[in-house]
Symmetry: D2
Subunit: 286 residues, 4 copies
Amino acid sequence: MRFKLGCSLAYEIKAPTTFIFNVEVAHLKSLAIHSETLTLSPDLKREVYVTPDLKNRYLGVNAGIGPFSVEYNAEVELAVVRADPETIRETPVAELPIDILPFLLPSRFVSSDRLTPFALAEFGHLPKGHKRVNAICNWIHDNIAYQRGASDGETTADESLLKRAGVCRDFAHIGTAFCRALGIPARFVSCYAYGLVPRDFHAVFEAYLDGRWWLFDATRQAHLDGLVRIGIGRDAAEIAFATPFGEMEPTGMEIRIDRADGGPEPTERTIDAISTEEPAPHAGAV
Amino acid sequence: MRFKLGCSLAYEIKAPTTFIFNVEVAHLKSLAIHSETLTLSPDLKREVYVTPDLKNRYLGVNAGIGPFSVEYNAEVELAVVRADPETIRETPVAELPIDILPFLLPSRFVSSDRLTPFALAEFGHLPKGHKRVNAICNWIHDNIAYQRGASDGETTADESLLKRAGVCRDFAHIGTAFCRALGIPARFVSCYAYGLVPRDFHAVFEAYLDGRWWLFDATRQAHLDGLVRIGIGRDAAEIAFATPFGEMEPTGMEIRIDRADGGPEPTERTIDAISTEEPAPHAGAV
Amino acid sequence: MRFKLGCSLAYEIKAPTTFIFNVEVAHLKSLAIHSETLTLSPDLKREVYVTPDLKNRYLGVNAGIGPFSVEYNAEVELAVVRADPETIRETPVAELPIDILPFLLPSRFVSSDRLTPFALAEFGHLPKGHKRVNAICNWIHDNIAYQRGASDGETTADESLLKRAGVCRDFAHIGTAFCRALGIPARFVSCYAYGLVPRDFHAVFEAYLDGRWWLFDATRQAHLDGLVRIGIGRDAAEIAFATPFGEMEPTGMEIRIDRADGGPEPTERTIDAISTEEPAPHAGAV
Amino acid sequence: MRFKLGCSLAYEIKAPTTFIFNVEVAHLKSLAIHSETLTLSPDLKREVYVTPDLKNRYLGVNAGIGPFSVEYNAEVELAVVRADPETIRETPVAELPIDILPFLLPSRFVSSDRLTPFALAEFGHLPKGHKRVNAICNWIHDNIAYQRGASDGETTADESLLKRAGVCRDFAHIGTAFCRALGIPARFVSCYAYGLVPRDFHAVFEAYLDGRWWLFDATRQAHLDGLVRIGIGRDAAEIAFATPFGEMEPTGMEIRIDRADGGPEPTERTIDAISTEEPAPHAGAV
């Protein structure tokens, strides 16, 4: 599908503030960027950085006192890979590429080590494969209430599980944690999400199954084949859309994503397994 | 200084086990590797992976049932950079290279977000620079008891702070957390440590000050200019010397580091500021 | 049923130690004490204290260096009240005697405030009454593994729930927490437990329903009509069988309970609702 | 000193609500109640309960939909015992009355077990006695920021310590926790506090030293000899001024305490040790 997407972020800077933004779509083979603009007002000097492993695009700006805004617009074509979930098996740890293994480790908000007994008890006995991760998403959807204000920037997956409530960030953290606890590599994904109401940045997760990364959204609030990746991280700590160091107040925020190819919003959500990243070349065996 | 160093790790494998090892010294300009051997018994197929950003060297092995061992030996020359601590200022966040900024974020065991009020109250008013991080190390050394068994693999910096006890891993986590909480990038370092008694893998941390990474060891148990880096991570989760997936029992472990140039053990420890990594080239400004 | 019961506790005192013991059976109308002896070796001065509200019998002893032991034996007749679980409704908070209300509050190990969302999600919709508390016990029995070593003296109900494992103390804490979270007063009970294998002090809980306290044992390891009460507390902190202040080592421990009326061990466990305490006289309305 | 004191509490009841209030001054020998009225509007049926051990006065009311208010006024004479802090020693555990010992145990918000290493490290070496508890209060006053909104109803002493911030409830919890961790019995006290600005219910703590309970206020915000006790508890959970079960909104709250004897507010705060409770008769030795 072809999308027009973007965001408008506005701030009132109270004291000089360094921002790291991560709002530009990722550079992926599956994602053709037909046009793209990013405007700063005022037009400050930009530092750009693309992480060598995950290809996240970070933008650093030092903003002075006064109003400051970021306007990002892109038109992109997303070509997803579809598969029958039944055909996707889990990859045994012994066969995992070594560069995938860090995504089995716990991270700040993905306390997979603390959730191992819980994950084993609920999901350890289920048939392995894409359908097991889907069962995890169903469990989260059925057992965790989507509730604004239920979490803050320090909330971890185990805390969300006890609170039985959270937002997309927390749903993704819990899903990621359960996967890692079961030996399935998993990572946090920020994205523009087609179909999400109300419009906002969205967080989902990917699990590594059968040789590639597959997308999962335990909130069930957007089209799985309409998730346009911004960043990839161990968890939300790494890919906030804006990380400010200084003193400022957000004064406006708008996120956009629409069909650019005239196609209507699908009436039903896909039940295919969806992937947007090419299978990674394995690290070399010697 | 020139060192002969290495380790011998032995296991009894009970069920097929995938290991990720991180025991080889890092590839650094300051660290000349004169010779190096790594022997597996039995001689299994190896998968190697060097992280593109931090240059950690990981080794993956699938071991079958029975005895299994790793023997690593290297002879290296470490050329450290020395400086007068008084001359090393802190780098304002606005001047930090963007690729350094992730080391301001909290991670699984470095709960810097939870420790911010504590760090500000204890160290917020101190003169900035290398000496502030040194004051943090002094505080840790004076207030945290070095005590085997005080922590386990899930212990976080805030928990260690309440327990007032830990091992080198925990000392490094607390130091890293306090630095990040104060806006000083910091990262966890595993190493061979000259002078450490009893001999073991050691954990210290680096803080980014005045344009480069400087070494700190809050345990004060080894020579700061005798720390030969193995790996760099956000925290201990990322650079365990061995991460096994399977069922096995460790049956032996020996770590070695000795002067190879005939020089005697220094009677006193250096009070210079010590760095072993070249200043990183900045990510590009546009 | 009539029981012979008791315990033998032995210690090696390394430095003068003050003990508080709570091993004597409670003074209850339903529990006739036919004979009872408590022997200290050496025969130290005893301080006795019965809590005015709950009637727990505490015994204080200051023991000097050397061996020290406690031997307790009693022959008792326990007359339980039985009822059909279907007939026991929950008491609305508005009808609860005011002296019962503290048992709705969270306590050190019964973190009912943290477990409220979990309790509401799992049990909030169930039919109210004795059968809801029984459903809680079934859930605990089915979802928490009985596992020695899974907890220590600082483990709370929310931690046990995440670990999915515990011992009788933890099963009772979780059950108590879920009840309080649902507005059902609940309290922790230590007891001699007929049928428990291996023999040990046991921990269960009572819920206040339909005007009186009813016994529940989520471990399902003893006869509900063979639980001879020692103490009642908000949680385990209050009624440890021995609380030592000093330096000592336990050197022996034996707990006993046998039928004293020649009756055989029942082949099946009762499915009646069981209570051993008279309905409390209400605090006075004015 | 003689005081006129009281409170006015107003609520809008949305659904039938059971309230437990604990706002009436305690029945103490040192506290003569010259007059006292408690008015409910509407004038609902009251259930009263005085705890047999601590003599807290609870009032239970079932309020229906609509406005509801409580008005309490009393005129009391408080006769405190004063002593030179230097003369007050700590009571060895072996000499503590057995009914005092529960105040050495951890409770929901007083996580003294978790704070033991911290307490020992900071205060373990200090001279024992009233002055050690005073040193604890000084430490709390100097190291914890008094900050509205820094805590909520689930915040524990260890959490407040990490946050380095709290309100009177948290200051009292930390003080209580440090005392218990050091083997000094301590309990939470709610009170009307002469000199407190702005006027509010206040929370302080008592430590058991040299045979009686002594008052401590780590916030240093009120006159220690002007604290008129309402309730005593293990921690805040037990003696909230209002515990509602139902659905309501607070619509007004006013707390009052003034000199009734014409005396002026003292210009300086007392530095005497202050106690308001008679030494308890010991539980009987046998």
